[in-house]
C-alpha cells in the first residue's frame, strides 16, 4: 500500500510528465480523450468540466465533485482501488466499455501534466 501511494504521489511532482512520456503515455492524447464524447452523450468533462483543476458537478445529480487534477487536489490518485473503481464506472458511462491501459495512462498523463 505504501509503495502504491508513493508511486501514485509521483503524479503531482515536476518529474511526472517526462516519466509518463518515457512509459509510452501521451498527455496530448489524454487531453483529446478527456474532452471527447466518444460518439455518446457524455465526456469526462461533462462532470469534471473542461478544466480538471477546478471543481466539477455530477451531470445527473448536481452534486459537487472535487477537482480531478492532482495539482489541485492532492488526494487524487492516492488510492489505487479508488482509481480503478472510478475508471471502471466512468469508462462504462462515457464509452460504454472498459478503457484500455493505454487510454487510462494517457488520461492520467494529461491530468498529471496540469499545473
Amino acid at each position: 500500500m505504501r509503495t502504491a501511494k508513493t508511486l501514485l504521489a509521483v503524479l503531482a511532482t515536476a518529474a511526472f510528465p517526462a516519466l509518463a512520456q518515457n512509459a509510452g503515455f501521451s498527455a496530448q492524447r489524454g487531453e483529446r480523450f478527456f474532452h471527447s464524447t466518444h460518439g455518446n452523450d457524455w465526456s469526462c468533462a461533462s462532470c469534471h468540466t473542461a478544466n480538471p483543476l477546478g471543481p466539477g458537478k455530477h451531470a445527473k445529480t448536481g452534486k459537487p465533485i472535487e477537482p480531478l487534477a492532482p495539482a489541485a487536489n492532492p488526494r487524487r490518485f492516492t488510492d489505487a482501488a479508488a482509481v480503478e473503481k472510478w475508471f471502471r464506472r466512468n469508462c462504462n458511462d462515457v464509452l460504454g466499455r472498459a478503457c484500455t491501459a493505454q487510454e487510462k495512462g494517457d488520461v492520467t498523463a494529461y491530468l498529471g501534466s496540469l499545473r
Binding site: T61, K63, R89
Partner: protein, 134 residues
Amino acid sequence: MRALLALALGLLLLQEAAAQSAWKAECGSCHIAYPPQLLPAPAWRRMMAQLERHFGTDASLEAAAAAEIGAYLERHAGTGKRVAGAGSSQRISETPWFRREHDEVSLTNAANCGACHTLADQGDFRERNLRIPR
C-alpha cells in the same frame, strides 16, 4: 461468560460502524447517502443487484463492499407506514409516503434533497432545518 458476551457485542458494534461508514462513503459519492429507512428491504436488494445500471450510470462496487453495504441497507430498511405500498421500486420519490410528504411543493430535482433540507447530507430532514427556495 460475561467477557465473551462483551467481546461479541463489541465486535458487532465495530462491524456496524464499519458498515455505516462504507455506506456513507459509497452511497454518498454521487448524491447524498439516502437513508435506508426510506425504502423497504426488497427495493434495496434489487438495487444492490443491478448497481452497474444504477439510474443510468454505472455505480458498481467490489463484491465485498457490495455485500457489506447491502446487508447494512437491509438491516436498516424501512418498515411500516413509511414504505407501505412501496413494492420493490428503487425510486424513493415514487413511494406513496414520499409523495404525501411533498404534495405541497413542486420538486425540480427530487434527487437533490439538500436544495430544501439543508442538513440532508447529515441525515437530518427535520422541518426546522427546511428552507424552501423562492
